[in-house]
Amino acid sequence: MNKDTSHINSLENEAIYIMREVAAQFDKPVLLFSGGKDSITLVRLAVKAFYPAKIPFPLMHIDTGHNFPETIQFRDKLVKELGLELIVRNVQDSIDEGRVKEESGRYSSRNSLQTTTLLDAIEEFKFDACIGGARRDEEKARAKERIFSVRDDFGQWDEKNQRPELFDMLNGDIEHGQNVRVFPISNWTELDVWSYIEKEDIEIPSIYFAHKRKVFLRDGLIWSHSEYVYQEEDEKVLERMVRFRTVGDMSCTAAVFSEAADITSVVQEIRESTISERGARIDDKRSEAAMEKRKQQGYF
């Protein structure tokens, strides 16, 4: 694994360039913020891109209501410290309005329900560009995603008809009603993000570091014991030292056993890890093409 971090400077320069293209090419951009490490990295990059001016777009969080409380506290603190505008839209409201139906059973999650809430919010605010923290190394379908990825009126991704992206040139021309998903850290790997967090000394939610948590085991994954996560009676609650490598909501994010309590040990652990990051994403395990299907429907 590459221990030289000079390549991260080139990734940072590329991401800053993309942030500035968004601000210049679109009327109403928004940064989709989940409270996870990737979106926290995006905020840092945006701060750097526009200094000494403030970030010229708001943040938006699609709240499933099943988030880790640590993530929400962290989100509110970050927004306050940086003086940013935060928009929150709740999946619970979409359920109450009958726009989506809650899943039930053993693997129920609100993860895929976020899509409707997100698309409704894009329409409500007339956002024409949504900046997200997806990375191409995360997952096979994401490896083909463009940096500027056009979505139609229905928020859908037409993966077979994507615009070619050449050199540094980003074509943000769209029709009214369409929007572009923008991925400034497309070319970063998980290790790059962690190395950057270490290098820049970026604060992240405590759940990324080893802590004692009530968990249970199912299908070889470590699930959080919580009122939001379905648990069989014979699935025994254990108390273990764990941390999270990726943070979605509680129902779709599995933990890893870990003693890494600070950023240096986390970076070390990722460097030596033999399991991919999304190996702990329960939502990807549904089928071989799980991510591609969700993306076509407008998932982030």
Binding site: L166, N171, S186, N187
Partner: protein, 415 residues
């Protein structure tokens, strides 16, 4: 070293996906869960070896058809370097994908099946890599295990390829031949003991040794202004910064500069990267520049050093690759996006179509179909500030946008 981006071109039959899978496997870049998935699927399909192509062919349609239809990006790193592979399909109908993949890459790997030798597709890959002026190319002669690791076959293919090299436009391109077996792992990451007659580096060793000077041309600095930063806060009341990326060379505080198109002169006062001031902005850094004089600069303008001006003109001739299903026609109107600058353009003349297999040109052309490469003159509604592609990869390239569909429909390299 920056991240090294490598374009791979070749059809699935050449074993390109297997080669990439082999690199990932031998550099221990495949994680246990991905490896398990590959083992499971390979077994289901009844193969007696691991099908590494499963690691790269991401889309459902590709898994169904068993071919690569788009540019996929694959990431791996060694103790020395981080790499991105832009994996593109090799079929003629995907010429545009090859151009796209090569445009963001600094080095390229061309695969040849040792049993088939140099074929039309090889010519095309080489032509595109030469057109895009990739400085370093590896010709990997694959499936050596299927030809008994024969030195004669290797030499024959090498000689055939070398006969193409005299036809190329960009003669300074460095070309290295390596005999490999992606399936068996010979000379991919580790050197092979099956080919004692080959004493050169393995493919990865070659890539590991590449330095900035091997992949980048040093040109003259160009600073296209992306965005004007005006904080309007008390602390930065009069701050007016020009945000952009420096291409081709360096810019330093105190440099005498000219702003295009107004040709107003000034001096660089400060260079910011976030909240720190620097004396010099290095190539490809995203900085914010302030000038000594309060002059009017906006997005699409370009800051260059005095005495080092690009060509300022309302027309240019370029080699273009047409990428859209709708034909390009003489007198057709498009948007030229040159860096961050957009202007209206009209096709003035299609000089000729270039057969991308070095077999010659076709004149008397009235239109271009998808994947055609041609020399075209455009007239613009206002001047742009360009360099020839051979002197400046960034300031000599552009994309074409269809103003009806907003799609990117072509890419060009200014002559």
């Amino acid at each position: 070293m920056e991240v090294l981006k490598i374009a791979t071109a070749g059809s699935v039959d050449d074993g390109k996906s297997t080669l990439i899978g082999r690199i990932l496997y031998d550099t221990k870049s495949l994680t246990t869960d991905k490896l398990e998935a590959i083992e499971k699927t390979s077994k289901q399909k009844g193969y007696d070896y691991l099908d590494f192509s499963l690691a790269t062919d991401g889309l459902v349609a590709e898994r169904e058809q068993g071919i690569t239809i788009d540019v996929a990006h694959i990431y791996f790193s060694t103790a020395k370097k981080s790499y991105i592979i832009a994996d593109t399909p090799g079929h003629v109908e995907y010429t545009r994908n090859m151009v796209t993949g090569a445009s963001t890459s600094q080095a390229s790997v061309i695969l040849i099946d040792a049993r088939k030798g140099v074929i039309e597709q090889t010519n095309r890959h080489f032509f595109i890599n030469n057109l895009l002026r990739i400085k370093d190319i590896v010709v990997a002669i694959n499936k050596m295990d299927l030809v008994d690791y024969s030195e004669d076959i290797y030499n024959k293919i090498k000689a055939d390829f070398e006969s193409l090299m005299s036809k190329r436009d960009y003669q300074d391109q460095k070309i290295t031949f390596i005999p490999v077996s992606a399936l068996k792992g010979d000379n991919v990451v580790n050197r092979s003991d099956k080919m004692p007659w080959y004493t050169g580096q393995s493919l990865l060793e070659h890539l590991e040794a590449l330095d900035k000077k091997d992949v980048y041309n040093v040109g003259t600095p160009r600073f296209p202004v992306q965005y004007v930063i005006r904080p309007k806060t008390e602390e930065f009341h009069d701050f007016r910064g020009y945000a952009g990326k420096v291409y081709g060379g360096e810019l330093s505080v105190g440099d005498d500069i000219v702003v295009l198109p107004s040709q107003t002169k000034s001096k660089i006062k400060e260079i910011y990267f976030y909240n720190e001031k620097y004396q010099t902005a290095s190539r490809r850094s995203s900085v914010t520049i302030t000038l000594e004089n309060d002059i009017n600069v906006s997005r699409g303008d370009m800051i260059v050093k005095e005495g080092d001006l690009p060509t300022i003109d309302k027309q240019f001739t370029a080699n273009i690759c047409w990428m859209d299903a709708t034909r390009l026609t003489t007198s057709g109107k498009y948007i030229v996006q040159h860096g961050v600058n957009k202007v209206l353009a009209k096709v003035d003349k299609i000089h000729y179509k270039i057969n991308p297999d070095y077999s010659g040109i076709e004149t008397d052309v009235t239109g271009l179909n998808v994947n055609d490469i041609a020399q075209v003159t455009f007239k613009l509604n206002k001047p742009i500030f360009y360099d020839q592609f051979k002197n400046h990869r960034t300031n000599g390239s552009f994309i074409l946008i269809d103003s009806q569909t907003n799609n990117t429909v072509g890419a060009g390299f200014i002559q």
